[in-house]
Symmetry: C2
Subunit: 426 residues, 2 copies
């Protein structure tokens, strides 16, 4: 098949009729499939059920420091958990804060604390600033953008380019003292699957923002979420780079086991400098006495070590491979050469990003929805939910079983074709 933009008006008309017939056939099947969020599949969660048996009624409940994990205390996490997660964050164990089960909450709270009381180095709480701005590499993660929107920040779009956010744009933007931070998903980024290049990480760590309390929110959500053992992206360690530049206070590093063990019932962690840690403990100590230490020790005992966690991730990678391959193969088979879309081929993470012809994304998602396939809302990957090109669509293949995913992807491709033909005919 030749590229759609080389078809004549008559050919488009015929094609449109064909596609519409197929589409109506799908619609009549009453599908109910979901590719909207990066949710692990039940079969994936089954792979760590033994986690729930690690600490039982006759189990151990004392840490090596003698802390009774069943009782109050230990605000920043038990030593064993700090040690387990330190290599995940790339910081020393004493620079790990283990808090609750959600890294999103850790991020919200970090923004919120700076807003109400200021971060380390702030001249005043952020709520006392006249104007607040936050850098949002886009396409990116909608929940990140929503946090800063919620706190009244102006969201400044930074284009994602090869190797991460456009660092020229970032370096320029941070000259504005109203710019207080940047959202980053540095490995297998949501939704592009991009891993920041060494140069990007180095330039990030070397930033000299006008705001002394500027913070890089380094959400390493997919730090160890590789699909393959033999081909993996490697991310430079940001804290090491910051140390070379004396900018360690500029970065907050986040991770969690939401997509390692159980979403919502995992362990969330934050890595930061000594200065940031001291201030965090002071503030967090007003908010909490301590987090769930039983769940912390549960994770420590289940994995045994960081290497144990990496071994576990190989199993999850294997479980996700056929899903990502189904997405890739269906896109290749159905759309290659038609010049109506581009997509990536990530080595890890939870998403495949698809770029349609300009002005087609909303229509594609609506067509999918009408036929029973739920996608992430078009535009969700941009600040304020507005994609200037109306072209980016996030595909989340992790949840449905492969056979359902195949059907959903076939329908998706059909909707891409249909929306593209409509556009070309208009």
């Amino acid at each position: 098949m030749k590229p759609y933009n080389q078809l004549s008006a008559e050919e488009l008309k015929v094609l449109h009729a064909e596609l519409l017939e197929k589409y109506n056939e799908y619609k009549s099947r009453g599908l109910n499939l979901d590719m909207s969020r990066g949710k692990p599949a039940p079969s994936q969660l089954d792979l760590c059920m033994e986690l729930l048996d690690v600490i039982g009624a006759d189990g151990e409940y004392t840490t090596k420091n003698g802390t009774d994990i069943r009782n109050y205390g230990v605000l920043d996490g038990i030593t064993e958990a700090k040690e387990l997660f330190a290599p995940l964050l790339g910081v020393k164990p004493e620079n790990v804060f283990v808090g609750g089960s959600s890294s999103l909450t850790l991020m919200y709270d970090a923004v919120c604390r700076a807003y109400t009381h200021g971060a380390y180095g702030s001249e005043r709480p952020w709520c006392k600033e006249e104007k607040l701005k936050f850098l949002c590499p886009a396409p990116g993660y909608d929940r990140h953008f929503r946090i800063t929107e919620h706190f009244g920040f102006e969201l400044v779009t930074i284009p994602m380019v090869e190797g991460g956010p456009d660092m020229d744009a970032v370096e320029e933007a941070v000259k504005d003292p109203a710019v207080k931070g940047i959202w980053c998903v540095p490995k297998y980024s949501n939704p592009l699957g991009t891993t920041y290049s060494d140069e990007t990480v180095k330039r990030m760590a070397a930033l000299k923002p006008a705001a002394k309390d500027f913070r890089i929110f380094w959400d390493n959500a997919y730090a160890i979420h590789d699909l393959y053992e033999d081909k993996q992206d490697v991310l430079l360690d940001i804290m090491q780079e910051c140390e070379k530049n004396g900018t360690q206070d500029m970065v907050y590093i986040f991770a969690s086991t939401s997509k390692v063990t159980f979403p919502g019932a995992g362990v969330a962690v934050m890595g930061m400098s000594d200065n940031n840690m001291a201030l965090m403990k002071k503030h967090a100590g007003v908010q909490a006495i301590g987090y769930d230490k039983i769940n912390q020790l549960r994770h420590v005992k289940y994995f045994g070590s960081y290497d144990g966690m990496l071994e576990h991730m190989k199993k999850l990678g294997k479980a996700l491979q056929p899903k990502f391959e189904t997405v890739k193969n269906t896109l290749d088979k159905e759309l290659k050469g038609l010049e109506i879309g581009r997509w990536n081929d990530p080595m890890g993470g939870y998403f495949v990003a698809f770029d349609s012809m300009d002005g087609c994304a909303k229509r594609i998602v609506a067509l999918c929805s009408e036929a029973g396939v739920k996608m992430t809302g078009a535009g969700a990957t941009f600040p304020y939910g507005k994609d200037p090109h109306d072209s980016n669509i996030r595909i989340a293949p992790s949840y449905p079983p492969v056979d359902e995913l195949k059907t959903a992807m076939e329908l998706f491709c059909l909707c891409v074709k249909l929306a593209s033909v409509e556009k070309l005919m208009a």
Copy 2:
């Protein structure tokens, strides 16, 4: 022995020498005992270890609504948990927010959300108000006071009287529009053990504060924490009273299983009106996707029902009885008739409050500490940590075993005597 204030100077001198000798004897024993915080004893925690076995690798993980508790979602808690905790809070299940493991965090976050974005009915976020005040019935809970101090509220002391906070003072204080709320521990209050009288609850629910977004923080931490089956305080249901007055939006009700199952690894809940719930969900949805549903279902299955939870609390009451009786008996034996202190005899909760002669509390706590017995800091039960009479001391008998507690209490009484004699001799 006659009251100390009737002793002659000579008698006091002799007594002082005797007491000092005994005190030095205690000091030489190198004690290391802790009556400082309301921490459950390990033997108490042992009583619910089976909780940890309820959901294992081969356990159920689907709610009656079909939710997979291992995966993302359900911001405000699984239905089963809402139903379990509704009677604890005295609200309908749909008015229960199940969030994390710490009610302190729920309280902090409720203050914080009102500070950054306003509560339901706020004209503006609290951080945009010129002046903020909060009512602090005292003696009260230091961590409550610290939250509002942290957010820059002026802490207004409300005296605790028979039957709860002095409601004349409260009704007068809320005429000031800067007054945004009040901290309450309505049953077996920390540290007095007071349960609010029906009249107090009714007057609380009938408040007409100048601030339209005034909130009663009703921390029912000891709602079901009775010591005895045959003598228990009964607290009127605040939400029912509020409904009679049309003031349902004025109250946030808090509880947790920190002192029911495991502190830090329990379940915290918040009860509130429809309006408050709708706003809370909107804001909390930016901060979190959902809380630990596995731990929620663990608690649901372990207790079976609210009645099951009450049955469990009988066991805990029995475990705590000998400790409270040790405190009471030692105080009675050592101090009765000396007129150098008053103490209460609570039917539940976690504390016994002791009032020394004015100006002696700090000295007593210091003497205890020097001899190896750690007490809550004198003054901690008052706003800003300043007890105007320097007389209130919080005794927390739950943690030490009975024999250690007996020793600690004997030393405590000795220190009370010594500090009182010093005071009378000065």
